[in-house]
Amino acid sequence: MLEYGYGGRILRIDLTERTFRIEPLDSSWVKAVIGGRAANSKRLFEELDMNCDPLGPDNILIFGVGPLTGSFLTASAYYTVTAKSPLTGILGDSAAGGQFGAEMKLTGFDQIIITGKADRLLYLLVTDSGVKFVDCPEHKGKKIIETTVAIRKEQGDVAIQVAAIGSAGENCVAFAAVVSSGNRVNGRTGMGAVMGSKNLKALAVRGSKPVALADTLAFLAESRKIDQDILTHPEYKKRHNLGTTMLMKDLNSIGILPTNHFQEGVCAYVEEISGQKLASSFKVKNKSCFNCNVHCSRYYLANDQEAEGPEFETLCGFTSRIGNRSLPFALEMNAYLNQIGMDSISTSEVIGWIMECQEKGLIHPKDLDGLSISWGEEEKIRQVVDMIAFRQGIGDELAKGAKEFSGRFSDEAQKLVMHVKGLDIICGDPRGIKAYGLTYAIASRGADHLRAEPYFELTNRKEEAKKRFGTEKAADRLAEEGKAALVSYSEKIALLTDCLTMCKNIGLCMDILNLERVSSLLKAGTGLDYSPEYLSKILADAIDLDHAFNRRLGKTRKDDTLPDRFLKEPLTEGPTKGATVDIQKMVDEYYKIHLWEE
């Protein structure tokens, strides 16, 4: 019996039959995975027909929160969406902050597990007592905020939180996003397409079961320490003012800001597209996730658009990565992509890859319905985005993702797709951040930094590096040495953060969480005994499970690598000039630490 922390129940919804079932959450089952991402992965592993079509009714779509989500703990805001990915064909998941996770927690369901396919477009309203199935053909094509406002109005309650899809999801674009809290995006691995394939326009939640703690005063004491650590952190002010957009200038200053599709790592016009410029010219106020004191998000007005964000990935993806120097245009694209529900990282990879291939003469305009597009061409970028989202002409093929689409072209063109396991690489050139390179290579959802977020290698803490990872080199961004140890540590804290569910910028980048601290938080929160050693063991088990999952779906050791460019082409300018990645060396070490076979 789970009395504290956890909601203690799971909700199963069958869209085909329009039925639902409430089950107790098995306490020994969940104790071995904590909650959030690891619990979702385990559920999927246990229940998924591995051979199923990701866009078919048999795929399982899971919304999950953790034992501390929506609690007094700062930034306990996140939720994770998990399913087999239509973009990569392997484990897919994506987390988001905002307000949805905390409200979902109040329904008392730790997981909402959705199977089947509805015969008509509908949305689900989940409350403590179960599910209301609401047909909504009139919401087809509606943008995220329109849908959110409409559902709140129909149900007469402005406190309802909504996770919805836009046109991209409805049209099953392989990298469509789920979007909640208006602009909070579960962007990666195409979870929006899975929703669309099930005719599920939105999941709305409104709960009333309070989050109770086993030892309120102990939890309060630990939370207060955490708040102090956050508020006195040397990066606090910068993160408060700029959020992740601070990385534009930070990454450029070390020569790893993807420019013209990773051909360069230094962007000459970075000042014009920086987070600082955004803050001084377009931001009107700070925005925040549930119960956070960093308030790192921003609300802005630009190009007759307004939205929350953008985060660094979208900002870089729609500026330097595709050679665009207009900040207002990038802000317009952020607002637009959020509202049609399409992942900005994968979208910018499709665009950047085409631009580079056309520059090199590898793709002819006739292969793209006559389209010829070069760096920063605003009108054509708008056009490609719409072709993909609405699957017009060749956009119907582009919507399958850059890697899939590249299959029809030469080897040379295929090699220029910046992906690992079919998932497009984030904005951070691994030639100058080796631990990130390793993380992209081994991450269980494909090229991704969040699986480990080894931000430590950028902090220059040499003594701490020696103490924690046996070598000062772990804090040297250009060294491969010590990075397998660093990633093997930080992937556990990253997973732990995803399980609680907390924010990684705080938990990991600001180095706020560690096993001892989480052990006492979980004990006070749930009343269950999670010792640091036990946590370390179950996190390792969960990482092994992800690995086994993808092995079962056909991935092998040779998929744990990086695009050729990062291994063979040195960067030509700036502080990372001359660097490439010796990825095999790091992956070897990483496999040894995990005792994984080849």
Partner: protein, 171 residues
């Protein structure tokens, strides 16, 4: 009175969480005496709670279960209250709400409001001893609404000025 600077509000709900936590040891917006709305359609976020209004409509309780405290706060006597709902209907901004047989309204935490302490942005200010504004004009418009709808109406109205300011800045 409790004053709110909407320009500084990020919608984090730290005030709401602190309010519930220090009153009940738990977290749930249903039990909060200050409720934050996130209006995604306009970028406006803000808390709504009792502002110790001039009129004090809620005090017209037929059972006289509500009284005025020394700081201007509303005190509810649970032994006298019969949950008739007159106070909930009377409040023009949805700052009193009954949930599971309990009346929730701001009690100013004995003079040190937890919501004010919790706000790291300085968006909530406790102006001790100050009389709140009149809600007469709002009352006409929200007369028949639910508490949730009243809060929405009130926050939209407060947010309109801020929206104007933003538009002028970016005109």
């Amino acid at each position: 009175m409790i004053q709110v600077d909407l320009h500084k509000c990020t919608g984090c709900k730290k005030c709401e969480v602190a309010c519930v936590f220090f009153h009940t040891g738990r977290v749930s917006n249903r039990l909060a005496r200050i409720k934050v709305l996130n209006l995604y359609e306009s970028g406006i976020d803000g808390p709504v709670s009792c502002i110790q209004c001039e009129e004090k409509y809620c005090l017209k309780c037929p059972e006289e279960a509500l009284s005025l405290g020394s700081m201007g706060q509303i005190i509810v006597s649970p032994t006298v209250c019969n949950l008739c709902g007159v106070c909930e209907k009377a409040c023009p901004i949805g700052a009193i709400e009954i949930f599971e047989n309990i009346v929730y309204v701001c009690d100013l935490c004995g003079g040190k409001p937890k919501c004010v302490e919790a706000c790291t942005e300085g968006a909530i200010i406790f102006a001790k001893g100050e009389q709140g504004p009149s809600l007469e004009s709002i009352r006409k418009d929200t007369n028949k609404m639910s508490p949730s709808q009243k809060r929405l109406y009130y926050l939209k109205k407060l947010g309109a000025d801020l929206r104007d300011k933003w538009s002028r800045k970016h005109a």
